[in-house]
Amino acid sequence: MPLNVEIVSPDRTWWSGEAVSVGAPAADGDLGILTGHQPVLAVLRPGVVRVRPTSGEPVTMDVDGGFISVDQDSVTIVVDPTTGEDRTSGEN
């Protein structure tokens, strides 16, 4: 079963879909998430979020901060608002 990933900021959803794995820069060190990960709520430090979708190119996104919540294979990454430019790269 793939992960259900949602990357959201106050004014929009940056990316959402199914993924094989997610990497996020948690405050104490990078966090890698695969299916069946235990529930976690972590604060993010500035860095790069990497999402490997079930199909298509990997997605990377620069974040300034925020937090990530993992719960029964649904991953929500909440990022802080920055300027309107598109910061995600890779296929949507």
């Binding site: 106050p10 004014d11 948690a26 966090l31 719960d71 608002p81």
Partner: protein
């Protein structure tokens, strides 16, 4: 008599121009409501994620945070009043301001010292006209609030709440805005946002049990990151709701104005017709009496 007719015609023409303007403003407001609601919908995943996370933390640890504690060292309280930048929206701004004034007087009666933060030109001019001091104001984009502005407002207010008493700290934060219930019903709302009552965050009626989360680096750190974001997202949410309310109030007001203009046009057309007929009648009676006079001589 001919003068009378001309006056009516003039009034009809000017009312028609006004009607066109009201109609245009109504359509503009209507088209913007869709966008405003869209933005509110786009913001909801974020709000949901934050609320869920806050209740997750709250259900696992005893929340003991600066933002949830009552402050007793100062009697200054902040009020954020969300009003419109422009008029032509019926009683929209007046309603919010009335509510805000009520709250302000209530707080003064309770021995507090209200400090006002206002968004929207109407609110600012209302208070400056009455010589009431404003701590900080934000103008522009009241019908299209930007997330950056919301963040700035949120940060300012959070800073004020965390500031020590002698450098302008406040012990409470109230927000007065207009809640968008539906296209036909918006109501002014007073919220006490700070200190936070976490009960509100947990109120989410879910039957599913929240899993046992692991917090990284610690529950306190997560809470520290979450609560300010929670406040800012709620402020952004109230701005979005106020924007949608403003637009639908404007649409309604302009719709009524268009209808009133049409009524006036109908009335004046009747009067103009009457004046024309009266003139014709008078002319006929003049001709007839003239002919009679000639025949008699």
């Amino acid at each position: 008599m001919a003068g009378q007719q001309r006056v009516y015609k003039q009034k009809i023409r000017s009312t028609q121009t006004l009607k066109k303007m009201f109609r245009a403003m109504e359509l503009i407001a209507a088209s913007r409501i869709g966008k405003a609601r869209d933005r509110a919908v786009k913001a909801s995943p974020y709000t949901r994620a934050i609320t869920r996370a806050v209740s997750a933390v709250a259900s696992h640890t005893d929340i003991d945070h600066v933002l949830t504690k009552d402050r007793t060292d100062t009697n200054r309280v902040a009020i954020l009043v969300v009003t419109a930048d422009r008029g032509q929206a019926g009683a929209y701004s007046a309603t919010v301001l009335r509510e805000a004034e009520q709250l302000r007087h209530q707080l003064i009666e309770d021995g507090k010292e209200p400090v006002l933060y206002v968004t929207g030109r109407r609110g600012v001019s209302f208070y400056t006209f009455r010589g009431i001091e404003l701590e900080q104001t934000w103008l522009g984009d009241s019908d299209n609030p930007k997330v950056e502005v919301a963040e700035e407002i949120g940060q300012t207010l959070l800073d004020a709440f965390r500031a020590p008493a002698d450098s302008g700290g406040v012990s409470e934060l109230h927000v007065v805005y207009t809640r968008f219930r539906s296209m036909v019903s918006q109501e002014p709302q007073v919220l006490r946002m700070l200190p936070l009552e976490v009960v509100e965050g947990v109120a989410e009626p879910t039957t599913e049990v929240l899993p046992l989360y692991e917090f990284e680096p610690s529950a306190e750190a997560v809470l520290d990151a979450l609560l300010p974001r929670y406040i800012r997202s709620r402020i952004f949410n109230s701005l979005l709701q106020a924007a949608a309310s403003e637009l639908s109030a404007r649409q309604r007001a302009m719709h009524t104005a268009t209808e009133n203009a049409q009524d006036i046009i109908t009335n004046y057309t009747r009067l103009a017709n009457q004046a024309r007929q009266a003139e014709i009648t008078q002319e006929i009676s003049e001709i007839v009496s003239g002919a009679d006079a000639l025949a008699a001589s």
